[in-house]
């Protein structure tokens, strides 16, 4: 009984019309969670975590650098998941989800690169080193930009959804290949002159600050993606009657 009910729900919410109000309810909740977690994480990061014995205070960049790097990779995986679902099940909503996630993933990707550069300067003496992780992060940013450029260039909604999904899957297949090839290239060219391995034992308070910030990044991503997918749904379903009512309501509110 319960399984059939949940399956019904799943398909029910796969329709943009059903998902739109749900997203509207969930987005502010996740936004609030993100704010609370970010405040808590920053409090731990700046007022609880002690000074690092080796790196001094500059290590505090870790509280955004690592969550941003995780998030940028994870968001690409989630986009690939939605793309696969969209191609396999032919649902409109999944492609819209992938498109709603892309700008936030690209933003986190850039944040990871930027904070990595600012962290690298005092610790290794250079803003940029062609390290495997930094380089594959840069290539991931290019993949995000390519996806967004392709989606923006296509006018026909059906083609946009599917072409974006194929590109996303092709990119997802290539991400591990890129990572390992860059790593191989990096070990050949640089040897062990630059070692990016973190201190082996990170104080648990630092780790917990980082994890709280990572959860905040999750909540932020979910919230922003839900807000964005609402706009995408309105644009896509503009001819549906319920969208007209919603638009009229929004038009009066603003």
């Amino acid at each position: 009984m319960s399984t059939s009910e949940s399956r019904f729900n799943l398909y029910h919410y796969a329709a943009p019309q059903a998902f739109y109000p749900v997203a509207g309810k969930l987005a502010p909740i996740f936004a609030a969670i993100a704010v609370v977690l970010a405040v808590a994480g920053l409090w731990i990061g700046f007022f609880k975590a002690p000074t690092d014995a080796v790196q001094g205070e500059v290590y505090r960049i870790i509280f955004i650098h690592v969550p941003a790097a995780w998030m940028s990779m994870f968001v690409f995986l989630v986009m690939a998941f939605w793309s696969a679902v969209g191609l396999a099940m032919n649902t409109r909503l999944s492609a819209l989800m992938a498109q709603a996630l892309a700008p936030t993933g690209a933003m986190f990707c850039f944040v990871a690169l930027w904070t990595g550069a600012l962290w690298g300067r005092p610790t290794w003496g250079a803003y940029w080193v062609w390290d495997a992780r930094l380089t594959s992060q840069l290539l991931l940013l290019f993949l995000y930009l390519g996806y967004m450029a392709l989606v923006a260039a296509i006018d026909d909604p059906r083609r946009r959804d599917k072409a974006g999904a194929i590109l996303c899957l092709v990119g997802a297949v290539n991400v591990p290949i890129i990572y390992f090839s860059v790593k191989w290239w990096n070990t050949l060219h640089q040897g062990a002159s630059v070692s990016l391995t973190k201190a082996p034992s990170m104080a648990s308070i630092m780790l917990s600050g980082m994890l709280v910030m990572a959860l905040a990044a999750w909540a932020y991503t979910i919230s922003v993606a839900l807000y964005r997918v609402r706009v995408l749904i309105l644009e896509r379903e503009r001819h549906a009657d319920w969208v007209r009512g919603e638009l009229a309501r929004l038009g009066e509110a603003s």
Binding site: F47, K48, V58, I61, I64, P103, T115, L118, R230, G245
Partner: protein, 66 residues
């Protein structure tokens, strides 16, 4: 409290520019993303409303007053 003063907090043991450069740019990017999202919502709502009124105004009595 691990900081002696607010001055020491902003100083960050000499690496203030790097730490605050990281956090500052991240904040700016997040705010920019939120503003862009809002702008897009407002502009596309406005555009779609205009299209709707131009094409099918009669079907939507609520819009006529605004």
């Amino acid at each position: 409290m691990i900081w002696d003063s607010w001055g020491a907090f902003w100083e960050m043991g000499g690496s203030g520019p790097f730490v605050w450069g990281s956090y500052g740019v991240t904040t700016v990017l997040i705010v920019a993303e939120l503003i862009m999202l809002r702008t897009r919502r407002v502009s596309s709502t406005r555009k779609l409303n205009r299209l709707m009124r131009a094409g099918h105004g009669r079907k939507l009595p609520e819009v006529q007053g605004s």
